[in-house]
């Protein structure tokens, strides 16, 4: 059995206390162990600074006055902290409108992916029929198709369906490219629930929908959380699809609004505004990941993640 499946089978992701060869509890700590632990802490802390500093620095920068953002960093920067970039971005560029667009698309994508993937996962796990394996393989194979390579046919097709320059159309597009992962995760979630539970409900005369909503739903919440989290984050951070399918500025999602700040403005780019907008885009990702990382890691272990 491979290592990934081994860990996956153990359940809810990587616990902070997993025991490996390097960290078995020993009855007594030797000086060598203590030195190793000190080295580990030092290396970890140093690497954490390298990985977190650019993000923390961006937050600090976004609170500097616009004139200082375009000057070399100096100690004086921190004595003039202001929210001017944020208020300016909200008042002059109506950025909250773009935040709302992004939120609508991301929430819509998350909800739609969850519903469709749950139904399909239930079907594949418990209502297999002749040919269902083939359909499952077909859905999974679409993981191999990069949407970046289908922009032209998708644009023409969605244009004819009235789905370009349309937030619903964008959410449908995002949902589809999250489905292979979602269906895979939900099918595995249903397969982990003992079949007897489903059978008992069926024998008692419960319809499939009732079995799903009354008996199985509490048990599949972790799978749904994983699916929604991936769909939401994909939608919130996606760039090239939105760039292709949206043309009206009032429909722009947050990344497109930021691009507009970069290229759309006449003359000098307002870097203070750009930094504030990027920080706004960053915040939901950080909060969602930290709060729900258990579910995120569950998804990583499925093995069908894309980069």
């Amino acid at each position: 059995m491979s290592a990934v499946s081994d860990t996956a089978a153990r359940g809810p992701g990587i616990s902070g206390t997993s025991v490996t060869g390097a960290a078995r509890h020993r009855p007594r700590r030797t000086a060598r162990d203590r030195a190793g632990f000190a080295l580990y802490l030092t290396a970890g802390a140093l690497a954490s600074v390298i990985f977190l500093a650019p993000l923390v620095w961006a937050v600090l920068r976004s609170f500097m006055p616009g004139t200082m953002v375009i000057e070399p960093p100096s100690g004086a920067d921190f004595s003039h902290l202001t929210t001017a970039n944020y208020t300016g971005l909200i008042q002059a560029n109506d950025i909250l409108h773009n935040v709302l667009n992004s939120l609508l698309v991301a929430v819509g994508t998350g909800a739609l992916t969850a519903v469709i993937a749950t139904l399909a996962g239930y079907g594949f796990a418990r209502f297999g029929f002749r040919g269902s394996g083939l359909v499952f393989a077909l859905i999974l194979v679409t993981l191999m198709v990069p949407f970046q390579a289908l922009l032209t046919p998708l644009f023409l097709e969605m244009h004819d369906l009235g789905l370009t320059n349309n937030l619903t159309g964008l959410a449908l597009f995002y949902t589809t490219f999250n489905l292979p992962f979602g269906v895979f995760v939900m099918r595995n979630t249903f397969l982990q629930i003992p079949a007897e539970l489903h059978e008992a409900a069926a024998v008692d005369g419960a319809s499939p929908v009732r079995t799903l909503s009354a008996v199985l739903l509490p048990l599949i919440v972790p799978g749904i959380a994983t699916t929604v989290l991936y769909a939401f984050l994909f939608s919130w951070t996606e760039f090239v699809g939105a760039l292709t399918f949206l043309t009206s500025a009032n429909l722009y999602t947050l990344p497109l609004a930021l691009l507009n700040l970069e290229y759309g403005s006449v003359g000098q780019v307002n870097f203070g505004y750009l930094e504030a907008g990027a920080v706004i885009a960053m915040i939901p990702c950080v909060i969602l990941y930290i709060a729900l990382q258990r579910f995120y890691i569950r998804g990583l272990l499925s093995g069908v993640v894309k980069g």
């Binding site: 902070g16 060869g21 079907g123 594949f124 191999m144 998708l154 970069e262 990941y289 894309k306």
Partner: protein, 331 residues
């Protein structure tokens, strides 16, 4: 059959199907096997239909449509003609397309190694589960979570001459002039983007490798300790061989991600100077939606589908292999 009517199907042939009772058998408390089976199939199809319809409409149809478009001289508006493989023969003689392919390959070749090495080192650091490892893991992974587009806008500011943090730090270390403009020359922007992407993507490699490392039985390391193996020997002789499949998956995901690079180049260099830092996806985007050569752009896209498809097929092969092994273990 592992389906819900397993319990029922055992006695059903005696009552319903085999004795050929009328269709209303179910209402009298007996259940026909064939009707149950049919209902099972109907329910299955109904549950799967929405997902299949979405995939058919937004992936399978566009895929076939793409092949068709690529054989025409499709403009954005107006009529088109079927021109056979002409787009493809033009592609292989188009210096700009060739350049974008070679540039993408170069970029992939440069970033794959650093992403893997940094990701591996971080996985070694956090796999132990010691005090602080969850914090470290979160810190290393956050750049990946925030996303390349958002971070490219942040990087744009920090790569500016005179005012950016990159020049500020490098000037303090006497490694570069404070006036270095990182995003307007080919070599500098490629260097900056590779460092930036390594920072962004190595967290994902770390996660994929860490999962595998934690699945390796501790007994193997204990046995090696008894034999007096050094850390390095254990890593080379135990961890890496047992991690082969995770390493392959992490590399494949990383390489496909690099092949599909777009955000960081579009936001930081816009493909410039000229089209020197234009990766394949940007070539497709520009050709289709700026030049309006939809047929020609789609021919380029098809080549991308084929290349990434072949690489992903290896990923699928590895996953399938894993499932078969699981089955073997269960037996």
């Amino acid at each position: 059959m592992t389906t819900p009517n397993r319990v029922l199907s055992r006695r059903v042939p005696l009552i319903g199907h085999a004795t050929g009772q009328p269709r209303d058998g179910g209402r009298n408390g007996t259940i026909r096997w064939s009707s149950l089976k049919a209902r099972q199939t109907r329910t299955g199809i109904a549950l799967i239909a929405p997902a299949f319809a979405m995939v058919a409409i937004f992936v399978l149809f566009p895929l076939g449509f793409a092949v068709y478009i690529s054989l025409t001289n499709w403009p954005l508006i107006g009529s088109y003609h079927f021109i056979g493989a002409q787009n493809y023969t033009e592609l292989i003689h188009d210096p700009q397309f060739i350049h974008s392919v070679l540039f993408t390959l170069l970029y992939t070749a440069i970033v794959t190694g650093p992403i893997f090495i940094v990701g591996y080192a971080m996985a070694v650091l956090v796999r132990s589960g010691r005090f602080g490892s969850v914090f470290f893991r979160t810190a290393f992974f956050l750049p990946f979570i925030v996303g390349l587009a958002t971070e490219s806008f942040m990087a744009l500011l920090e790569l500016q001459p005179d005012s950016g943090a990159a020049d500020f730090l490098l000037a303090k270390l006497h490694l570069a002039s404070i006036h270095t403009a990182w995003t307007v020359s080919y070599g500098l922007s490629l260097t900056a983007i590779c460092v930036f992407v390594t920072w962004f993507a190595s967290g994902l490699t770390m996660m994929l490798l860490m999962a595998g490392m934690q699945g390796i039985p501790a007994e193997l390391y204990e046995a090696a300790n008894v034999d007096g193996a050094t850390w390095w020997q254990k890593e080379i002789r135990i961890t890496i061989p047992l991690l082969r499949r995770n390493i392959a998956l992490a590399l494949i995901i990383s390489v496909i991600g690099s092949f599909l690079a777009f955000n960081q180049f579009y936001i930081l260099t816009e493909g410039g100077p000229g089209t020197s830092t234009q990766p394949v996806v940007m070539w497709i985007y520009e050709e289709a939606f700026v030049q309006y050569h939809l047929g020609y752009a789609t021919a380029g896209a098809i080549t991308l589908v084929v290349v990434t498809g072949i690489i992903s097929a290896v990923q699928f092969y590895l996953l399938r292999d894993e499932r078969d092994q699981k089955k073997a273990v269960r037996r």
